[in-house]
């Protein structure tokens, strides 16, 4: 237990100091941390899932507080919570149905852990969901209440566990934790491979002689473009440099190394060039539930220009970037103000700063935000590892990954304590 606490503290400090940046790295490390938290969490005999959930939530709250802008942390915490709930439900249905599935998923060999149990859990969860959620046409037509499904849907919380746990506690306690860790492994793998899965779709979106504009650097975008290039598509990429971090230079270098025709432009030339661009492809920092995007600074401008010229604005991002929150005033509340030294050198204006004059307030402010919010109406398409989606569909996609109970991480412990 102190072991996990020190791990958590380390990570919190890293997040606070912005040592870990980028949603991919953060997501991955969060998942790994939570995995170790779960594996070391001692589970009581009753209400195991509840205990796990509480532990994860407690850690998650700390992590989110460390860097509230890094939404990937919260996303992963919620994903893990959702995994725990799903596994718990699938176990419960297993127990109720008395299925022979336990034979397949029971072996604790490490060799088979990669896909088999997770697959079974996912399959069961999917089956469970399919029995639960959409009411059958028959039920709709006849007006018969779906007697089997309704109680289950409501009993996702703590009480269903109490009933089913009476059966075989010892095996189940180990099994739940095991399954959850398996699923988290799966999640980590998903995070690592989401680039490839997104990149696979590239050929469906990029045609010959296309002109693509992007801003800053995103690994997903790079892989996406390179995948299309490997499929022998020849196209041209305009890279806006993305001041003040100039990640566009890095992207341009990488693209050129892969043999793509690349042109670096200044950010201010975006409007001038967009009329000759066929598609804007950008990576996101986070994708909000309303279909809005938290993206590197400058992209709102690009999106507006793209809308003006009716250029498709495509956002690529793995599912770990899907955030179940609805943004409120995201330009300010979900933003990070970086050091002004990126814009003006320290001391460059010290001779002009006369604090004695006036009311002592400095005459000069320097604003250097890190993110931009792109509202959903400016986004044409999201490409995630599960395929292409409309902005308006995002909330639905998010419902697949998160449980509604987890949306607010703080509230539960506050009310519980």
């Amino acid at each position: 237990m102190p072991d996990t606490q020190s791990l958590v503290n380390d990570f919190v400090i890293k997040l606070k100091r912005r040592k870990v940046e980028g949603s991919h790295a953060t997501a991955r490390q969060t998942a790994e941390l939570l995995r170790s938290v779960i594996s070391q969490q001692r589970v009581p005999y009753t209400n195991q899932a509840g205990a796990l959930i509480d532990a994860v939530k407690a850690v998650g709250e700390q992590l989110v507080a460390a860097n509230p802008v890094e939404l990937a942390v919260g996303n992963i915490v919620r994903r893990v919570l959702h995994i725990i709930r799903e596994e718990d439900i699938s176990l419960a249905t297993n127990a109720i149905g008395g299925l022979g599935l336990s034979v397949g998923s029971d072996d604790e060999d490490d060799a088979a852990k990669d896909d088999h149990p997770a697959l079974s859990a996912a399959a069961v969860a999917a089956a469970f969901r399919s029995t639960l959620r959409p009411p059958s046409l028959h039920a709709l037509l006849e007006g018969v209440p779906d007697s089997g499904a309704v109680p289950h849907a409501s009993s996702s919380g703590g009480d269903s566990e109490g009933k089913s746990k009476s059966a075989d506690k010892s095996t189940r306690s180990r099994k739940l934790k095991h399954d959850v860790i398996e699923a988290i492994n799966e999640l980590i793998q998903d995070i690592d491979t989401c680039h490839e899965q997104i990149a696979e779709q590239a050929v469906e979106h990029i045609h010959q002689n296309e002109v693509i504009l992007t801003l800053g650097r995103s690994r997903t975008v790079m892989e996406f473009l390179c995948a299309a290039k490997e499929k022998k598509r020849s196209f041209r990429v305009f890279v806006a440099e993305g001041a003040p971090r100039y990640q566009g230079h890095v992207l341009a270098k990488e693209l050129v190394a892969r043999g793509l025709q690349t042109t670096v432009i200044t950010d201010s030339a975006v409007f001038a060039m967009i009329s000759r661009v066929n598609m804007v492809i950008i990576g996101a920092h986070a994708i909000m539930a309303n279909g809005g995007v938290i993206a590197p600074v400058g992209l709102n401008m690009v999106a507006l220009a793209a809308q003006r010229h009716a250029v498709p604005f495509v956002v690529v991002g793995g599912s770990h970037k899907l955030c179940p929150l609805y943004p409120h005033n995201p330009e300010v509340l979900l933003n990070d103000l970086k050091s002004p030294s990126e814009l003006l050198d320290f001391g460059e204006f010290s001779d002009c700063m006369n604090f004695s004059s006036g009311n002592g307030a400095p005459l000069l402010h320097v604003v250097n935000p890190a993110f931009d919010y792109v509202p959903p109406n400016l986004v044409s398409l999201f490409i995630t590892d599960t395929g292409g989606h409309n902005p308006s569909y995002m909330y639905r996609l998010i419902a697949d990954y998160y449980s509604a109970e987890d949306l607010s991480l703080q509230q539960r412990p506050a009310s519980g304590n």
Binding site: T262, T263, I265, S268, V297, A305, D372
Partner: protein, 665 residues
């Protein structure tokens, strides 16, 4: 449109007044009634007929041409000859096939010229041919029947026309006899050709080059004969129509002009306004993807220019040279550049090194240099001051262009100067002329730039209220003046200085503003949508405002205007009226300026950003440093100029109405 409008002027006997707004032309319907022949023969498409032609909402014909047209259309003995159709009687037409290869139905005057001059096989004797060609371009030969039938949309009925036209035609035949006599034969052989004589008051310079001495003589002759023909026609028509007033002469003329339109070649009507407007139309710019012309320009070039490597495909038509190589080269050749005046040379170096930037500063620097050059100028023996000085200025200008492409404001200043030189009275002595020119230049700088800026500041300050947060972009001197003036007036406001790579001009401006005690916020262009929440008003400078209301300005201005528009903020453009230009532009690609691409690879003060070192070695990688962009007019709320505050739709009015007079001042 133009041709039609002009043709109407030919017909309309009423004196032209400035007619603005929507109105129905009173005269045409009456005339249509009075001459049934015309209405009958008028083609079904109403826009072909001059009578059914409604005017454009704003029609301000240049008075000079209007009066010319008027006098001749009334059948008076005008010394100038207007389109005079001389249709020969169809009987005398030799039915040769060679008429067919004449360019009928071509709207392009140069084409028709080409057609006539390049058809020696058409069986005309040389004299006649040369006469025709020299009568400048608008010449068309062909038989009336052919013309009419060869024009499908005209809907002419040849036979009907003939029958109705008989009196006129016969008259004209006699005219043609007269003509033939005067011309000592030559035309007689080409009987049956419809000769529409027309000459222009203002002759194409291109054409002038082409005409040889003999041709010029022939031209004069043709003009004389045409004059005679018109006179004869006037009298004859009057005679045949008996007691009918001169107004009756019109139908014939209308008919003729209409026929010309039908034959689509006549273009006589285009003459006046068209010619005049042609001067306004800016010269086509040099396209640098045209290899031949680039080669030619290179041979003349003073500045040694090496083509940049790794050029962006989309911008092949713009010049892009290796920067850094020209400057030392030019400096070393300081004493070899014989014809270049040192002050001009200095300005060129300043342009090249980027020490002088901003269109006002560049324009003033250039004019001052020209002033120096004019002061030191002496007319070489056996040369006229006007011609020689113009040539000299032209060479200076081309030198400056090699250093950096001209800004639009400079183009206007150069035009102004050349105009002044051209308008110098011949009686002036050299010293007088030089003094006049110098004072003209001073007046231009003073009135068009300095006073204009003052006027703009006066207008713009009224828009700044206490508590405003003003967003400015880049570094515009007039906007700086506005802010400082408002600060002096004691207005309480904050300024957001938005800057962008690679020039980072905002830093210098920020320094000046902060040192004056203004409260400033500094940010990058990428953070626009973050900072725009606090802003209440956006002030932008412009390099030029084009006739369709678009604003041609420092790259990034369009982005700022767009984001401000998205936030429903007013965007005020401050621009002196001398920077307005007749050109129109829709995108930022067709006309722009390319800066040094190397500055993109390097970020000053950020050594860690060195990913693009040696970028030129990879042919897949290009860096693009655009200098300007074009802001669509719908993002612009208002343009503040020295004539006042106008919407972007009123730019052409300023350009056409106000500036015209000032150019000729």
């Amino acid at each position: 449109m133009d041709s039609r409008r002009a043709s109407r002027m030919v017909i309309d006997p009423k004196p032209k007044v400035r007619q603005v707004g929507f109105f129905t032309p009173g005269a045409p319907p009456e005339r249509t009634k009075s001459s049934p022949a015309e209405s009958l023969s008028s083609p079904p498409t109403s826009d072909m007929s001059p009578a059914g032609n409604s005017l454009s909402p704003v029609m301000i014909p240049p008075p000079r041409h209007a009066s010319d047209n008027l006098s001749s259309s009334l059948g008076l003995n005008s010394s100038r000859v207007l389109p005079v159709p001389v249709p020969m009687s169809p009987i005398r037409r030799p039915s040769t096939g060679d008429n067919l290869n004449l360019p009928l139905g071509s709207y392009n005057p140069s084409e028709s010229l080409l057609g006539t001059s390049l058809s020696p096989s058409s069986g005309f004797d040389d004299e006649g041919l040369s006469e025709d060609t020299s009568t400048s371009g608008w010449f068309v030969r062909g038989n009336p029947g052919k013309v009419a039938s060869s024009f499908p949309s005209g809907g002419f009925d040849t036979t009907a026309m003939k029958s109705r036209n008989i009196p006129v035609v016969s008259n004209l035949t006699t005219v043609s006899h007269l003509l033939t006599k005067r011309k000592k034969g030559g035309i007689a052989e080409k009987g049956g050709t419809l000769v529409e004589v027309q000459h222009e008051q203002v002759r194409d310079s291109k054409l002038k080059e082409k005409t040889s001495k003999a041709e010029r003589r022939a031209l004069q002759e043709a003009q004389r004969s045409a004059k005679a023909a018109s006179r004869a026609e006037g009298s004859k028509t009057a005679a045949t129509s008996g007691g009918v007033t001169a107004a009756n002469a019109k139908p014939a003329k209308a008919k003729a002009s209409q026929k010309k339109e039908g034959s689509s070649v006549a273009s006589s009507d285009r003459k006046g306004p068209e010619k005049d407007r042609k001067k306004d139309v800016p010269h086509p710019r040099m396209q640098f993807d045209d290899k031949q012309r680039v080669e030619k320009a290179k041979r003349r070039a003073v500045v040694k220019q090496t083509e940049a490597r790794n050029r962006v495909e989309l911008f092949r038509h713009l010049p892009q040279y290796e920067h850094g190589t020209q400057l030392p080269d030019l400096e070393s050749r300081f004493f070899q550049l014989e014809p270049m005046h040192p002050s001009v040379y200095k300005v060129g170096l300043q342009y090249l090194s980027g020490d002088t930037s901003g269109s006002n500063a560049r324009c003033i620097a250039m004019l001052q240099a020209f002033k120096e050059a004019i002061k030191d100028y002496t007319t070489p023996p056996e040369k006229a001051l006007g011609r020689d000085l113009t040539a000299k200025i032209s060479s200076y200008v081309s030198f400056l262009i090699e250093c950096r492409p001209l800004s639009i404001s400079m183009g206007y200043a150069i035009r102004f100067l050349k105009n002044r030189i051209a308008k110098l009275p011949l009686t002036f002595s050299e010293t007088e002329a030089k003094a006049t020119l110098c004072s003209d230049i001073d007046r231009f700088i003073n009135e068009k730039i300095i006073l204009a800026d003052k006027a703009i500041v006066k207008h713009a300050v009224t828009k700044i209220r206490d508590g405003d947060v003003l967003l400015i972009y880049g570094s515009s001197c007039v906007i700086e003046m506005i802010l400082l003036h408002a600060h002096e007036l004691g207005r309480q406001f904050r300024v957001v200085v938005v800057d962008s790579r690679p020039k980072l001009e905002g830093k210098a401006l920020l320094r000046r503003l902060v040192s004056k005690g203004l409260c400033c916020t500094y940010t990058h262009i990428n953070a626009l949508s973050y900072i725009m929440h606090e802003v209440t008003l956006v002030f932008l400078g412009a390099s030029s405002v084009l006739c369709n209301g678009t604003v041609y300005s420092r790259v990034g201005t369009a982005c700022v205007a767009m984001v401000a528009h998205a936030f429903r903020l007013p965007v005020l453009i401050c621009c002196e009226a001398y920077k307005f230009h007749e050109r129109v532009q829709l995108d930022s690609i067709c006309s722009n300026e390319l800066g040094d691409p190397d500055v993109i690879a390097k970020v000053p003060g950020r050594e860690d950003v060195d990913h693009l070192e040696n970028w030129a070695n990879n042919e897949n990688l290009q860096l693009l440093n655009l200098m300007y962009d074009v802001t669509p007019s719908d993002y612009v709320s208002m343009i503040i100029t020295d004539y006042g505050m106008i919407p972007p739709t009123s730019v052409p009015v300023i350009v056409r109405e106000y500036r015209r007079e000032h150019l000729w001042m």
